[in-house]
């Protein structure tokens, strides 16, 4: 059974003309790391706020563990890292974590242990009893926020832009943390436009644009859509570069592939999916290309994200207004 189900969720804010979220449906399985990606204003944060019962959906239904997100019994199950650090700045780190530990209803005898573990998990190396929240840098705040999100031993964690303000070490820490969630069977919903960490650990990703989910699926389903492959072959003595290029282009066209770059002994090919690429390679071999290496450069999700955004921009200009307004 899915731990989170969203059915035809829509939300429009009174002051904005367009809908922030339109008819979005998806579900998240227990123990899954679910990524919500998309450009700014795509409605990711709105969906998250609806899941957390911070804002009320205009229509549609949300179930978390079979209950409404407004249900009191859902609250102890969840941990949340907000996008903007909206923490009680006057508290010391220790006070702040105590505050959230108490709020989450965990037994008080485990408090010190939980706080210690959470701080170790986020690799925060400052004295939690001396440093106040307001004295922390952006990256440290983010770590405190993460510690806060896991302090109540939640079963579902909502992370909104977990990497913002983080250094590369922070990226690694977050990846480790998400992997640990997987081990412990904790469900995580990660909302991001920085994709490095999402790409590596997410089980499934929903790509959002203009309040809608444009694509939903595993990492593979994204990767095959755009794949660049560099093919190398033993030099062909009898043909010059122009001839090679000509024959490559004509062969590629037959199989819906594009030659991005070609030289005497190698070429970079862009293919729509695996099947087309395979048949193209087969064709080349038939034409006496002695292929010894095929290096597939799976495109970064970021590039895809940019392409998709560009495409969407061209096709759908009306969605340009800021939805979060």
């Amino acid at each position: 059974m899915s731990i989170i189900t969203v059915d035809n969720l829509s939300k429009h804010f009174r002051r904005a003309k367009v809908k922030a979220v339109q008819d979005v449906s998806f579900s998240v399985e227990p123990g899954e790391i679910f990524g919500l990606i998309g450009p700014n204003g795509a409605g990711k944060t709105t969906i998250m706020a609806c899941l957390l019962a911070l804002i009320k959906p205009s229509s549609g239904q949300i179930k978390i563990d079979g209950k409404s997100p407004y249900d009191f019994e859902v609250k102890p199950l969840i941990g949340f890292l907000p996008e903007r650090p909206c923490y009680n700045r006057w508290m010391t780190i220790h006070q702040f974590l105590t505050y959230h530990h108490m709020l989450s209803g965990r037994p008080s005898q485990e408090r010190e242990k939980d706080i210690k573990e959470a701080l170790e998990a986020v690799e925060l190396e400052v004295d939690p009893k001396k440093r106040r929240v307001k004295e922390l840098s952006r990256g440290m705040l983010q770590r405190v926020g993460l510690a806060q999100a896991v302090i109540g031993r939640p079963r579902i964690v909502f992370l909104d832009e977990p990497t913002s303000g983080m250094d590369p070490l922070g990226f690694i820490m977050i990846r480790k943390m998400l992997l640990r969630f997987k081990e412990q069977g904790i469900t995580a919903v990660v909302n991001s436009h920085h994709l490095l960490e999402v790409e590596k650990v997410c089980d499934r990703i929903a790509f959002m644009r203009g309040g809608k989910i444009e694509h939903l699926g595993g990492m593979d389903s994204f990767a095959v859509q755009g794949q660049d492959t560099t093919l190398s072959w033993l030099p062909l003595a009898d043909r010059n570069a122009d001839v090679i290029k000509e024959s490559l282009v004509s062969l590629a066209q037959k199989h819906d592939c594009t030659i991005i770059d070609a030289s005497l002994d190698s070429a970079k090919v862009s293919s729509p999916d695996k099947e087309h690429l395979a048949s193209f390679i087969q064709e080349l071999v038939k034409n006496e290309f002695l292929i010894y290496e095929s290096k597939s450069e799976r495109r970064e999700l970021v590039d895809l994200f940019l392409n998709k955004s560009d495409k969407a921009d061209k096709s759908d200009k009306s969605d340009k207004s800021d939805i979060n307004e």
Binding site: A49, I55, M102, L103
Partner: protein
């Protein structure tokens, strides 16, 4: 599994104990506690009529702004954060925790009430000590005095909780409107006109209308001995008092419930 409770021990701990421990709130609170003692000391020593001076000092305890400020200190995080409105954005995170909005309002209200009444009672006890040492035998401390402190702390805490629960702009407008309605009454009683043109008389009537119906929404301190003095006084004062109390708590919970915490936007 947790059951929703009416008062959150966490909020109470962090609004009372942890706040007093922080010097930014602790020092003003101790100043508040000590101020009447100090006033008693200097005004009695340097006075031709110490009994009268002492009596005037005791009037500090029916000053509305004292109650309002104490409610502010205990309910808002304003002083701790250095921002007058406190940190309304922390509510986003708070309400993802197992805490109902009713519980939030009631806990804050409770903290304001307990905080300000305890501070004022300790302060009154200290002032009484000073007065007795200086040889003032007459003091107004009786059950009515103590009850008045409790009643005033209650009404001012509920009022401040109501303002606190509203978005800051709306809270400010509500504050200005109701305090304005109350103040115009005082202003109108200073000057009066015998031969003003009709138009001005109508304007005056309109102002007085607002003063009559909304002037007592902004709480003023109640004196329990007044309530006890006559049936007529009792009926009106008590109804207005209770009506204000329920109005503030209702609006606090209501405003917090319809507020949307879309934390992605300001």
């Amino acid at each position: 599994m947790n059951k929703p409770s009416l008062l959150s021990p966490t909020l109470i701990r962090f609004n009372l104990w942890e706040k007093i421990r922080a010097w930014r709130v602790g020092i003003p609170i101790f100043l508040f506690m000590g101020l009447p003692c100090y006033m008693m000391l200097i005004s009695v020593i340097d006075s031709t009529e110490p009994e009268l001076a002492a009596k005037n000092v005791w009037h500090i305890y029916d000053n509305a702004s004292i109650y309002f400020l104490l409610a502010y200190l205990f309910i808002s995080d304003g002083l701790l954060t250095g921002r007058p409105t406190g940190e309304p954005e922390t509510l986003n995170l708070l309400f993802t925790r197992p805490i109902t909005r009713t519980c939030y309002v009631l806990s804050k209200f409770f903290c304001g009430f307990i905080g300000s009444s305890v501070v004022l009672l300790i302060s009154a006890a200290m002032t009484l000590g000073i007065a007795t040492t200086l040889g003032i035998t007459e003091n107004p401390i009786d059950s009515h005095f103590i009850l008045s402190i409790f009643l005033n702390s209650l009404i001012f805490s509920s009022f401040y909780v109501c303002l606190h629960a509203m978005p800051s702009m709306l809270g400010l407008i509500a504050y200005l409107f109701f305090s304005g309605c109350q103040t115009v009454g005082d202003i109108m009683s200073i000057g009066y006109s015998q031969n003003a043109p009709t138009f001005f008389k109508h304007v005056k009537d309109a102002i007085l209308f607002f003063n009559y119906w909304f002037g007592d929404v902004f709480p003023s301190t109640v004196d329990f001995s007044l309530i006890a003095s006559s049936f007529y006084a009792c009926t009106e004062l008590v109804v207005v008092y209770l009506s204000n109390l329920s109005l503030f708590l209702f609006f606090a919970i209501f405003m917090l419930s319809i507020r949307e915490f879309s934390y992605g936007a300001d």
